[in-house]
């Protein structure tokens, strides 16, 4: 396809691309450890190395707050129903227990777990991120297919000076979200990636 051939020309113009570039306090964090290993056992012929950069430590707070407000809120609502409407209690017993366990997991376990897992890297050629906790996911999207690059900041994120980098491709489900970045890092990365992607001709499908 012509799109492909043209992308070959793109990278040279993108000299300024400097990977994740800006100093990131967590960059030095070793990429080894249980959660950093790529899929596949060590003896596999090939495996994915972990991306180079970790996320901000503040992200732990953000994930914890998010879990608490979302799931804690749902738990409170359900508990209120159980308290004020007696006939529903037999039906709500199991859901309440499940929700309570989920809330604890989401606010106490998930943040640390995610912090250990989440890593990201942007090169001229691709955006690469590892996310998840119970379900881990490695995603790689080629820069030549990038359509939009956003740095999104929700209310909690603004409070903590964090930002989520969202890189979308033409595929409806091919977006890569890197949460828990410092807002300046995310903005710089978004600008750089946009600069690289913009000069790529074709409509990126």
């Amino acid at each position: 396809m012509t799109i492909r051939e043209e992308t070959g020309k793109a990278p040279p113009a993108a000299n300024k691309e400097a990977g994740p570039g800006t100093p990131d306090p967590t960059v030095g964090r070793p990429a080894s450890g249980r959660w950093a290993a790529g899929p596949g056992a060590p003896d596999a012929p090939v495996r994915l190395r972990p991306p180079q950069n970790g996320v901000e430590r503040r992200a732990i707070v953000w994930w914890a707050l998010r879990g608490l407000t979302l799931w804690g809120g749902a738990l409170a609502a359900l508990a209120a129903v159980a308290v004020f409407w007696a006939p529903s209690r037999p039906w709500l017993a199991a859901p309440i227990v499940a929700l309570a366990v989920t809330t604890v997991a989401k606010s106490l376990v998930e943040p640390w777990w995610r912090f250990a897992v989440h890593r990201w890297e942007i090169t001229d050629q691709a955006t690469y991120a590892v996310t998840g906790w119970v379900v881990r996911e490695w995603r790689v999207a080629p820069t030549s297919r990038v359509q939009t690059v956003d740095a999104v900041r929700g209310p909690l994120e603004q409070l903590l000076g964090l930002s989520t980098l969202r890189v979308t491709t033409a595929s409806s489900s091919g977006a890569i979200s890197v949460a828990g970045l410092d807002k300046d890092v995310a903005r710089d990365a978004a600008e750089r990636l946009a600069a690289v992607a913009e000069i790529t001709p074709g409509d990126a499908t």
């Binding site: 396809m1 492909r4 051939e5 992308t7 070959g8 990278p11 040279p12 993108a14 000299n15 691309e17 400097a18 990977g19 570039g21 790529g38 899929p39 596949g40 056992a41 003896d43 596999a44 012929p45 090939v46 495996r47 994915l48 190395r49 991306p51 180079q52 209690r89 037999p90 039906w91 017993a93 199991a94 890297e121 090169t123 001229d124 050629q125 691709a126 690469y128 998840g132 119970v134 379900v135 881990r136 996911e137 490695w138 995603r139 790689v140 999207a141 080629p142 030549s144 297919r145 491709t169 033409a170 595929s171 409806s172 489900s173 091919g174 977006a175 890569i176 409509d203 990126a204 499908t205």
Partner: protein
Amino acid sequence: MSSDDTRPSEPTWQRLNHRVIWVDLLWSLLALTPGAVALFVVGAKPSNLVPWAIVAALGLFGAGSDMLRWTFTRYRVTDQEVQRRTGVFVRRYRAVRRDRIRSVDTHARLRHRIAGLRVVTIGAGQQLTTGQSAFVLDALAAPEATLLRATLMGESEVPAPRTPAEEFPQAPENPAAQHGPVDGSAQGLGEVGARLGPENASPQGLGEAGAPHGPENGSPQGPGEAGARLGSEDASPQGLGEAGARLGSENASPQGLVGASRGPENGSPQRLGKGGVRVGPEDGSAQVGEAGVAGARGGGGGEGGAPRERVTVLARLRPWWVVYNVVGVWAYAMAAGLLWGLYWFVSTFGIDLWDVATGLADRASLGPVATAVVAFVAVGVFGAAGMAVSFFTTNWGLELARVATASGSALRTRRGLFTTREVNRDEARMRGILIREPLLWRWAGMSDTQVITTGLQLYSMAEPATILPRGPVGVARAVSAAVLGVEPSPLTVPLTRHPRAALRRRLWWATLLTAVIAAFLAAPVLAGVVPPLVLWCLLGLWPLTLLLAVAAYRSLGHTVSGAYVVARSGLVSRSTSALRRDAVSTIALRESILQRRLGLTTVSTMTAAGWGVYATPDLDAHEAVSFASTAAPGLLDPFLEPSTPTPQPSTPTPDTQAPELPEPSPKPTNPSPDGADPG
């Protein structure tokens, strides 16, 4: 109203075709008819007329708003854009850049066809995600529609070169030309039957409208393909002759239809007679013959003159496919709808359908069980009959063909008995094929076939991505192979089985599902709100879920075949997708905790086309990365573990990313920014 006005730099705004108005007037009359008949002829009580009043009101409203829409709608084609202004109270201006246009499709409902109109839908791909309404021109005259499509799709040589040089010499041979005189007279008449005339004979209209139009109406489809079709048509059963002929040449089409539906009283015989084609005095069959002749001549002419439009027919409707389309629960949904309508219909005549049915049951006195069985079967058969009618009206004369265009080739589907649809899919935008086989009917080989392509609406009723109606999987595979055009068809190559651990994962999930339901029901059972019997039912559910888990495991498979990555999975509907590797944009590998324990990885290939993501669940974790790396050649290379020898896993298709890979190589060990910049 010729679109040739659009050639100058500042083209004028054009209206939609004026025949829309006449159709609307006719439509209003039709809407009033049933109520009038019920009131004055049958003498129904006014209280029973509510449905008919609603019909009349809806018809009048629809026709009226349609006229308003016609009055306020203008469109034009500039060098850069297609522009449309519309709207009565809210003025809307819409412009689509011509280089963004991905499809120009036409369809025509019965009323459009009677008036020789075509509805043109211009697709620019955006609708896919934004849910924007399509750019529709409702409606243009058939020749205008064809010319517009040719202009916008860059098939400039279809109308243009044909027009002066090749087409006119053939004109005498073309039956369309022979209709010429008829058409002239008919247009003057303005009576309904006469108005039918021009439309079948639309080419004549062209003849008078101006030289450029003449050819492009009948001929683009007419010559080459009609001839081609005739060859195999003989082999195909009765109905196809007619339908094929109808498709064969746009001009001839309505004749077949009109002849068939209106019968001899409509004057079609003499029209044909006047047209100079010898036809028997009867209706449909004669016209089929005539249309066939038309096709034959057109074909001969086309081949002799300019084989520019090369048409390869890939598939044609086989009537027995109907058996695949009438089974299933939808037959009951259809029966419910039909019976509901019938109930209201006859109730306006004072008949209570329910009483009739219960009366029948009483008289038969079969006993409750037998009555239920008979009713079940009867309703099913009734629904199946409805489905069959619906299948034939939708797919009548279905033809899937590869058509050469200016930019390459397109897959074209034409189908429909009353409402005809023509969908053209640019093959340059095609990324693969998907075949679905429903679990319950896999033994019968039932399958659905979709192309994976960008810029088509998946949720449209027209199902533009579906290239074949539900039919035997053998046909689906053969047609897919022809569409993909690669030698070992990716859809028939043997697939790699997935590890047994994938079966264990499914068995675990089946058990877990049962357990979770049991856990949620435990408290109510203990409290006595729910009878304990339910728990025993759950125990019966467990083996069933285990069985389904095995079925789901058996449907897993994957491989890489040439330029395609093939993945098969799915429980309720086993889907086999063949996706071009150079179309893969994002690659994702997933591992849940359970998968990690079992050594499994799910690889998802994401693309801009079709459903966006095609997953290969539960590969062996060891081979997952190399499979993913092969599926998207070169994409993962910079991120592969350097410790192990990297066996350049990509066997890339020549035009894929291979070239851009060597240069980047920001090898993982080297995080320095400049490492990524060789030049």
